[in-house]
Amino acid sequence: MTMQVGLKVWRFNSRTGERELQEFEIAAPEEATLLDCLDIVKDQHDGTLAYRKSCRMMICGSCGMRMDGAAVLACKMRMYDIAQAGHVPVISAMGNLPIVKDLVVDMDPFWEKFNSVNPYLQPGYEEPPDGKENLITQERMNVIHKEALCINCGCCVSECNAMEADPLFTGPQALAKAMRFVGDPRDGQKLARLEKLNGEHGIWECTRCYFCTERCPKGVDPRDAIAKLGAESMKEGIDRDMGAKHAKWFVTSARTTGWLRETELVPKTQGVVAAIKQTRFALDLALKGKVPPPFPPHVAKDVKESRRLYDLVRDQGRDGYAGIVQGERALGRLSHGHGVGDQTLEEIYDRPGAYHRPFIADEEADA
């Protein structure tokens, strides 16, 4: 059985800067993926269309691109439902990377960041004394199970909000890869790695937008990997970054008053001197009641329970990344949810002014 598929593809030539939204209408088998459809376009309609592909089975990581503004692996994306709904998706190159031609991006900045985390095992672990094989338990491997699934496709990097604002941010892929080695018991450079990851463009620049986790076609969950790196850094006493101090103040607040001690958060994060420089800004906020006085503190009822919980669990060996890994089994069972409430999908698509293509603002403006 065949189906009719409509595609709008952003063509781009980096030499001339010319861009054009080109529409195609093709006949494809009902089981066709987006990649199959592009192959049909290239084979039967326009041989000049450029895109990357190789394995066609979600393991080489070549065919990352955007559909309706969201990064996908073209070979994973089945087109049947979209075609049946009569929707014509917009296909464009991934974000946060320079476009070379059409759907092909320059992956050099991606690989630079990938290489910056030394993505290979470094010697230094303790050999078993009897010269036997170094057996790693399943429990130890579970720590990096998700991170080890990464295929370097770049879908997470494409949507990273922090990287849009600061292109130097190490980014979700490289940081997830870093966790894959930090959590590997055979690696001998854990502390040196964590030190480096606590740098200016490291883990504390993550803005927790969760786009990486949402987009990853392999379930890597880079945001979780970054949280694991943060927790492990703190466990090892690497907490000089403002981001780490910020996080620690929440712990202190929860233990002492129960609620966040907001007013003290700035000096505790940035230091007293930097906080004084913010005085003018803080005064403006204070006039509106946005700077609650620290005294008397706003104390939660029964806060001693929260304090005792802290003392109790800190000795149970689930600090650092172990505290996050323990929840992965349950969270791993959840599937992505796209609820439509009591409306139909058509009602949502047809809403006047509904924005169907969230991330291709620049291209849209030119259209």
Binding site: A162, A231, V266, A330, G337, G353
Partner: protein, 294 residues
Amino acid sequence: MRKVAYYKGCLASLSAKELDSATQALAPKVGLELIELESVTCCGAGDIHEAEPDYYLHLNARILSYAAAEGVDTLLTVCNVCTLNLRQANFMLLGDTELRARVNENLVAVGVPAYEKDVDVRHLLWEIAEGEGYELLKVAAHKGLKGLKIAPFYGCQILRPSKIQGFEDPDRPWSLERIIEACGGEPVDYPAKIKCCGFPIIQAREETALGELIQPIEQAYEAGADAIVTPCPLCHLSLDAWQSKLKKTTGRDFKMPILHLSQLVGVAAGLAESELKFKRHVVSVKPVLEKLEA
């Protein structure tokens, strides 16, 4: 009237008290009887999850336990970050009996009831975007917004990760638009409505955060919005209080009023200024209110 446990979180308790008072006043009009939880703490805001993840789980289990102890099946939140932190901890516990048993043992050891009966954590947005809450909202919003152009700003953690939140398609959300329309306003559309406001790193990496913050404000401004509405008090703080810093970096003064979800619906439902507390905003909401009266 449906009884729900109400967890207001840190900001609505302190710097965003206007969110709490507007929510308390609005709740009965949309069929919710709020039972405010007292013996609860901060959810950790993602920070404790990253600093002391095991403590994060226990803190949230304690909140869930006290909600369950009220005999309700829903824990109502008014913050994206609280919603994600509580739902994540809840799924960790509901999906792993061993883990739940261990956490419960610890809770009991410090005098907290074990978290036995399940509760569902739901944001106010979800309660009024569909079903009975939505029907009541349509009736309550009788004063309307008289065609005001409102830019919905979802923020991140109410949408993503969708495996934990899952209420709506994270790329094509519809709940805020539907509520704006029900209140007689006109939703304004712009790409950054589902992106980050920069708040989590606004202190540790201000420059990067401001690079994110500018997007929704500039885009909503250029789309002709009279105001932005958000379901998250952290987004609100960032968009409202840090907006003035954009003057320095971009030379532009947007003066874009930012409303909490409860305030927007509250205006349409005719709540009093004493409940809406617009005086607590940094960017004046006056132009919006004047346009309504005109």
